[in-house]
């Protein structure tokens, strides 16, 4: 392995050009992808912590039989808020947040496509989450479950505003998610460094490309479902009202057509984290790159074939259930292929048990259990027995925490040195890992057994004679251990930001392009973007074959390349910082919240939204004139 090429020296003019402006207005005007991404990550982690506290309250109430710490009404809000927070405000958006930081760096780009839209998506996401928590604090938070089935969530059984706030949150988070998907696809297809052909893209970038396409097909379904729920509740439509020709199972089809792909929107990006971490700590490229890429794509396609397996207990015809059983079982194939490639990589390499690798390795153990119980649930006959029991709760948490949260924590330990310039503490990291790993398994493994013994999900209390008491006590103890582990992570972050060892550009001697930038990266990422010659540019003699010259330092100029072969095509001038994405998001928020209370809010909200959106688009005369003078026509 050759030593890493030296990081390009900083360029003060370029830094100034790509920096966000100072001050409060500047803070609201920021559009640099790294700035927005850090905010997005912190916000999603804040919601994760809030969701975790809600989970602890749930566990406290379930600790012992016949407990009365929390009543049924508040308990219903707790599990609704916990599920909604984790699935809509943490798990999907955190992956997009990490991606908008890392993808430009990994592909050798100076920025992201549509940076103002990226800022707008962040503000929309933040305001949606704040709206939901404000409703919860004001005792009008949702209580019909995180997937809000009608008729329970319909106007007859959930009068008042609780479910309206839930449904409107869906509009916020899906709007944000869809915009992020457009940004990521455009960035990946059009802004890769010269020479980074599609078959040289890092596997993490492939996972974000694939999940972004999945977002664009899946999220419209839940957006439509929740819009129809809103209109049923607020203006008297009848989509879900059987008495007027509607159908309650329609909701389940629309919701799970989104909801099962959502599990993969959460699960596939961590496959990219795994590939990055394992390659680096095994000191070799991932075995079987083409198989890995095909497996990611196959997983995405299969994810859209699975939705009815959440509905095996409904009146869907048997033949339909047989198809979905087969599709559900097939999902194991691409996952197994990836497991094989990672193990083959590790087998031939020399193991290096730093904290990121511990989190990555835990994936194999935890996801294996989640995957095995998933294959069990793919069977209609077994699923009917355990539907809506704690067995399903255990399976879901093994898949999502083992498949996503553990790799995410590993990714954070891996890339924190790049984000901050400091190393995370290794000793605290190991304590964090082991407390999380032990706590997680102690918390969730007993739930399989409780579920097989018939314990339903979502009950706020249970009688002693059911014999579930000891299992629940063990689970609560495990949850507390898990919480302490996560708290240690927070301590590690706070200590390391200030006092961690200096990281340097490439503390792991890793091979991908983000490690060719300074730590933290300069505002413009690459003073001279690289010309790429291999899949792991920093590990090959010809991996960085040269650099790009001729991009301006005094305006936000990026190189646009072709989709397949990343051949330079043109330069594009990216927009400057602007407060209008923030103002537009405020106006959209007025429209969304207002429409919970009166349909007329759609009308005057739209009137309120139009000026900031037009001003956002409107060119400034001075800068435009300068750009015209420097134009090169096609």
């Amino acid at each position: 392995m050759n030593p890493s090429p030296a990081v390009e020296p900083r360029n003060a003019v370029l830094d100034r050009t790509w920096s966000d402006p100072p001050g409060l207005i500047g803070w609201l005007s920021a559009i640099n992808h790294k700035t927005i991404s850090v905010r997005f990550m912190l916000t999603t982690f804040g919601f994760f912590a809030a969701g975790g506290v809600l989970a602890l309250l749930i566990r406290l109430q379930l600790t012992v039989p016949d407990n009365k710490l929390i009543g049924p009404d508040f308990y219903n809000q707790l599990f609704t808020m916990h599920g909604t927070t984790m699935m809509f405000l943490f798990a999907v958006p955190v992956m997009q947040a990490v991606a908008t930081y890392l993808v430009p760096l990994m592909i050798g780009a100076r920025g992201i496509a549509f940076p103002r839209m990226n800022a707008f998506a962040y503000w929309i996401f933040l305001f949606g989450g704040l709206m939901l928590y404000a409703a919860f604090i004001l005792d009008i938070g949702p209580d019909a479950g995180w997937f809000a089935y009608p008729p329970l969530a319909g106007p007859e059984y959930s009068p008042g505003k609780r479910t309206d706030f839930w449904a409107q949150l869906i509009t916020y988070t899906e709007l944000s998610g869809l915009l992020e998907a457009v940004i990521l696809i455009t960035t990946i297809f059009k802004m890769r460094a010269p020479g980074m052909t599609l078959n040289r893209m890092p596997l993490f970038v492939w996972t974000m490309l694939v999940t972004s396409f999945m977002v664009m097909f899946a999220m419209p379904s839940v957006m439509l479902a929740s819009t129809a729920l809103i209109t049923d509740r607020l203006v008297g439509t009848h989509f879900y009202n059987p008495a007027e020709g509607g159908d309650v199972v329609l909701w389940q089809h629309l919701f799970w057509f989104f909801g099962h792909p959502e599990v993969y929107l959460i699960f596939i990006p961590p496959l990219g984290f795994m590939s990055s971490i394992i390659a680096t700590f095994a000191r070799r490229p991932i075995y079987g790159y083409p198989v890995m890429v095909l497996a990611i794509i196959a997983t995405a396609f299969l994810a859209f074939s699975l939705w009815v397996h959440h509905m095996f207990a409904t009146n869907v015809p048997e033949l339909g259930k047989s198809f979905f059983t087969a599709a559900s079982a097939m999902i194991a194939i691409p996952t197994a292929a990836q497991m094989f490639c990672w193990i083959a990589t590790l087998w031939a390499g020399r193991l290096n048990f730093r904290t990121p690798m511990l989190f990555a390795l835990s994936f194999f153990f935890i996801l294996l259990i989640g995957g095995l119980t998933g294959v069990m649930l793919a069977s209609v006959s077994l699923d009917l027995q355990v539907h809506d029991t704690f067995f399903v709760v255990a399976h879901l948490h093994y898949v999502l925490i083992g498949g996503a949260v553990f790799p995410l924590f590993g990714a954070f330990y891996y890339w924190f040195p790049k984000f901050t310039g400091r190393m995370m503490g290794e000793r605290l990291g190991k304590w964090n890992f082991w407390l999380m790993f032990v706590g997680f398994n102690v918390a969730f493994f007993p739930m399989h057994i409780a579920g097989l013994r018939g314990m339903p999900r979502r009950v706020y209390t249970y009688p002693a004679e059911m014999g579930w008491g000891l299992l629940n006590l063990i689970s609560t103890i495990g949850a507390a251990i898990l919480a302490v582990g996560i708290l240690l992570f927070v301590v590690n972050v706070l200590l390391s930001r200030k006092r961690g060892d200096m990281a340097g550009a490439d503390p792991w001697a890793a091979g991908t392009l983000e490690w060719a930038t300074s730590s933290p990266p300069s505002p413009g990422n690459f003073p001279r973007p690289p010309v790429v010659g291999s899949r792991f540019p920093l590990w090959s003699k010809d991996g960085v074959a040269g650099t790009v010259r001729g991009l301006a330092d005094d305006r936000r100029e990026v190189l646009v390349t072709s989709v397949n072969d990343a051949v330079p095509n043109h330069r594009a001038v990216m927009p400057e910082s602007s407060p209008w994405p923030f103002v537009s998001a405020v106006a959209v928020t007025v429209l969304f919240i207002g429409s919970i209370f009166t349909p007329w809010a759609i009308v005057w909200g739209a009137v309120l939204c139009t000026p900031p959106l037009v001003i956002w688009f409107w060119p400034k005369r001075g800068p435009t004139q300068k750009n015209i003078e420097r134009e090169v026509k096609p």
């Binding site: 059009k190 329609l250 001729g550 646009v560 001038v573 409107w618 060119p619």
Partner: protein, 204 residues
């Protein structure tokens, strides 16, 4: 590679003379517009599926009288006719012919305002309300979703037209006009199946 110097010593690439904007699929704006079309097309497709799903669960469909054909047919003809000024605006933009781009954009805007007026009559001719029954709900949803795109495209066209008449004019504004025209093909193209479902699906 076109317009790129390669320094054979180090494989450096000098991109200073590459264009600063391009048309079509090489531009990022094209990909952004395609992304939005894919999302909106998916919403339309799922809503059509909902229509047929609800129909399959219903003994009587439509529950009310089928929509009158006149206004929907008229709007379909107007939209198809609008493709002519749309294409002429696109061509003028890609030739960077400012005068023609301006006036064809104005023509497109007049067509857009005409559709919106006729659309009001279409809603009135549906012969059902959104709160009458599930049939009424899904038909209004389809028409309202498409109308949302008509309204946003009309605003976009207005903004572009005003920009074309006020300076200074960057090359990328011509790209915006070209992409706006591509988006209009989507708005009209998506209307045809929606029209078939709303007006003729009720008559199957």
């Amino acid at each position: 590679m076109n317009k790129v110097d390669t320094n054979v010593t180090t494989h450096d690439i000098d991109v200073a003379r590459l264009p600063t904007y391009v048309y079509g699929s090489h531009s990022m704006m094209w990909w952004g517009t395609m992304g939005l079309m894919l999302i909106e097309g998916t919403v339309f497709a799922i809503t059509v599926v909902v229509y047929f799903y609800l129909r399959s669960h219903s003994q009587t469909w439509p529950v009310n009288r089928a929509p009158e054909l006149f206004w929907g047919g008229l709007n379909t003809l107007i939209m198809l006719a609008s493709l002519v000024p749309n294409q002429l605006a696109k061509r003028a933009a890609e030739r960077e012919d400012k005068q023609r781009a301006r006036w064809w954009l104005v023509a497109c805007l007049l067509f857009a305002l005409t559709f919106l007026v006729v659309r009001v009559f279409e809603f009135g001719a549906l012969n059902t309300r959104w709160d009458s029954n599930a049939y009424g709900s899904v038909v209004w949803m389809l028409l309202a979703l498409h109308t949302t795109h008509l309204v946003t495209d009309t605003i976009d066209t207005t903004v572009l037209a005003v920009l074309m008449f006020t300076g200074p004019l960057e090359g990328k504004r011509f790209v915006d006009v070209s992409e706006n025209a591509m988006y209009w093909y989507f708005v009209v193209g998506s209307w045809l199946p929606i029209y078939a479902v709303i007006y003729w699906g009720a008559r199957l």
